[in-house]
Symmetry: D2
């Protein structure tokens, strides 16, 4: 049994700092690095790529909407082709820093509002899939587990990593419970650890209304932008390893199984 | 005898249009495509890369300062490493669109204030050289003919294209006459044509004060951002071909000779 | 009988030019000047404000979404209070250039996607109304004629100018025909002239499906961003004046009647 | 005897936080609020203006270069008139938030690289002076004590506040010791307190090389962007008040004396 742990990184910008990248990097296996659209800048990208390389962590592009002011969390209407081109631009830029760090890009994970939109909007999903295929069809695409986006990417022949959120509650139909629903975010560390181990060992989660549901999880998202988030990463990783589960980068996992 | 003709392209942005790319593309052999920092946007980059591919024109990244408001024409202080990272970012982004157009990046030519600064500032030149080497040491770097930048890039082992400006007057020492000097820009088409042919056939130019000077020219810069610029491109190309000179992309020329 | 003619102006940005402001300014009476968010920059704002002052044209702020890449034409999700603050910011900035041109701000007209959104979304409308009241309750607010926004602004005690679009077709219920409906944009100059005169003299328009409808119009929007748009402005103004209708800035019209 | 204490505030941007504004606000009397060019955004400006109003702190515009990526700390070449227009734009925007907070703008203090450049460059100084005069000749302009900028602004008839830096060492000629000179920044709190009291009571400072120098100080700059900076503000204010010195906003001080 094995799983990848991913976290958003490289979200600082100029004089502005977000996240404790040098701490959380020790516990994760894949880094989603912001590409200068919703966060990050070229110097932060260079530094973060080097940090990931040094720790043996897989480097991913984390493209978002061009909305630094909203941190990529606001929906933005786009005209046909724009999402494809936004993704190509950011993947290309990130790949240059992976190269300059002596390695290459492992994966692509859309960020924030774009991630959520693509999970359910077929046109957006299609544009992202086209961008990844055009740039490098060997790249791994990280998608919300069970989403239409995951299905479309799989059918398109891409390597797809299905992602689960250990500290988020799920509805009985496998969708994430909306953030404004009571209990949507699980703050209790013990509960998170137990969910993670159960999910990886059995493929099962208990939904917010007590139903058992199956969820494919190739990678678990560890939030990194709150102070002390690295401690949760540490405890999740230790719990997994204590159970004999291998924590490893996406590139070494069997995907599309 | 052969020479490359290059022009800046892809400088439109959103609803804003600059240049007549679809006209000038027919007469040039290498396109310097803006990368979204001083001009251009992802959709313009995609369209321009496809246009260049369709016409057999070599695709180049045209990275500039992050200064859309100043079109990359204003000097910007940078902290150590920033130029390197700005270049890596933009080369990477442009390479994604070359790939999606079914080809690959041919060259890199810094834009505007950054081009002029790197021509004479060794630290800036060094950062650009490092970026190109880190991304792809086979890329051709276009530099001001005879500049310290050209020398440094050659010594660093890069493929270097020395660039001359047919419609600009030169000082006796081989430097470009400053734009505010009378006669610095040559508007007479016949004179430009004659200079071009003489330069390519003999390697010589007459300086603004009447001295003969030798200038290595692998590529000639054809300005494209003024209405009707394509006509000058057309007349230059025809004059060259009438003299039996081959006009061809940088990638097919012998460089560093 | 009197009416105001308004046009969007100051949409150039740095090296990028849109519109023929110095031509259209001669035929309009109120200028909606872009404020640097969706178009325009400080130097363009200064120049455009001076141009308007010189021609006796009322100066208006034309605030939009912070989306230069999309020219303010794309919907952007905003969090509560953001629209209010975006409007305050842009009105304030524009008012500084009105002052430096020796006059003061006459009106505010939201731009593009924000204009359309506020016309029907009460929360957005409310935030804009609050911003105008907080900055200067004497400012005139230009709104889509007959919209909920117009009603809310009137009830809030603002001076409200109801706006009609001479070259746009209307549905029988008084709403603008969607742009993708055949006939939605009226290209025939004679038809536009006749509609304008009829509307100002009788308050009536014929809808796209042949019904007669009443439309309050304090100001008519003359599009300025297509080449030659000033000719339509000229012909509309001449047609109105030939009928004895006074064309005058919003500040000199009786509003809220 | 009286003095103003000013601090840079409102430097957060979207999801990015800099400074502990709600702490430092209790100890200062004038706030320099970032205007969205080098830092700050409309919602941060609104919030910060309200915070200052609530604490009886004078509201100032803190305009900088349009360089969020460099936090306004990098020199940027500008074309004639651009600085004037950048200042007008930002003053105008800030004044809107002062109004919406129920008060009005007290002062203008250029930020970072622009502050330093204007202190010694007459053209930049002149453009800033013109902007302030055009917007509101009653505004107070904060300048480096003893600078050519301070002289020019005084001669132009503006209300000028001369600023000193308690935690920065000075050269014998009254200029700030460059940051890379050992001892340029004074970290010892006791030393800072003693310098402040001596300066306010006697108008004298001891330069870095031991000479006594006179320095006009209407306001002292308290740095706010390092964690815990509010403690230094607190201790400075308490030391001053213990000596019977009144700490009060610029608007209540006699200037140009």
């Amino acid at each position: 049994m094995q799983i990848d742990l991913n976290s958003d990184m490289g979200e600082s910008f100029g004089a502005y700092t977000i996240g404790e990248d040098d701490k959380i990097i020790r516990y994760i296996t894949s880094a989603n690095i912001a590409c200068g659209y919703h966060a990050g800048d070229p110097s932060v990208m260079a530094k973060t790529a080097a940090l990931a390389k040094q720790h043996g962590v897989g480097i991913g592009a984390h493209p978002g909407y061009p909305d630094l002011a909203g941190f990529g969390r606001r929906n933005l209407q786009t005209f046909p082709g724009e999402i494809r081109n936004y993704i190509l631009y950011q993947i290309g830029a990130m790949s240059a820093f992976a190269k300059s760090a002596g390695t290459s890009l492992q994966h692509v994970k859309p960020h924030g509002a774009l991630y959520n939109f693509a999970a359910k909007n077929e046109e957006a999903a299609q544009e992202i899939i086209e961008a990844v295929k055009a740039f490098n069809p060997e790249l791994i695409l990280v998608t919300l587990s069970g989403s239409i986006f995951a299905q479309m990417a799989t059918q398109a022949g891409l390597r797809v990593a299905q992602e689960a959120f250990p500290d988020r509650a799920y509805l009985a139909d496998g969708q994430l419970a909306p953030r404004n629903m009571p209990g949507a975010v699980i703050h209790d560390e013990t509960a998170v650890r137990e969910r993670v181990v159960k999910l990886v060992k059995t493929g099962k989660l208990i939904s917010i209304d007590g139903k058992e549901l199956f969820l494919k999880a190739d990678t678990l998202c560890i939030h990194g932008d709150t102070p002390g988030a690295w401690k949760l990463a540490k405890t999740i990783r230790e719990s997994l390893e204590k159970q004999g589960i291998t924590v490893a980068p996406l590139s070494s996992l069997p995907l599309n199984t």
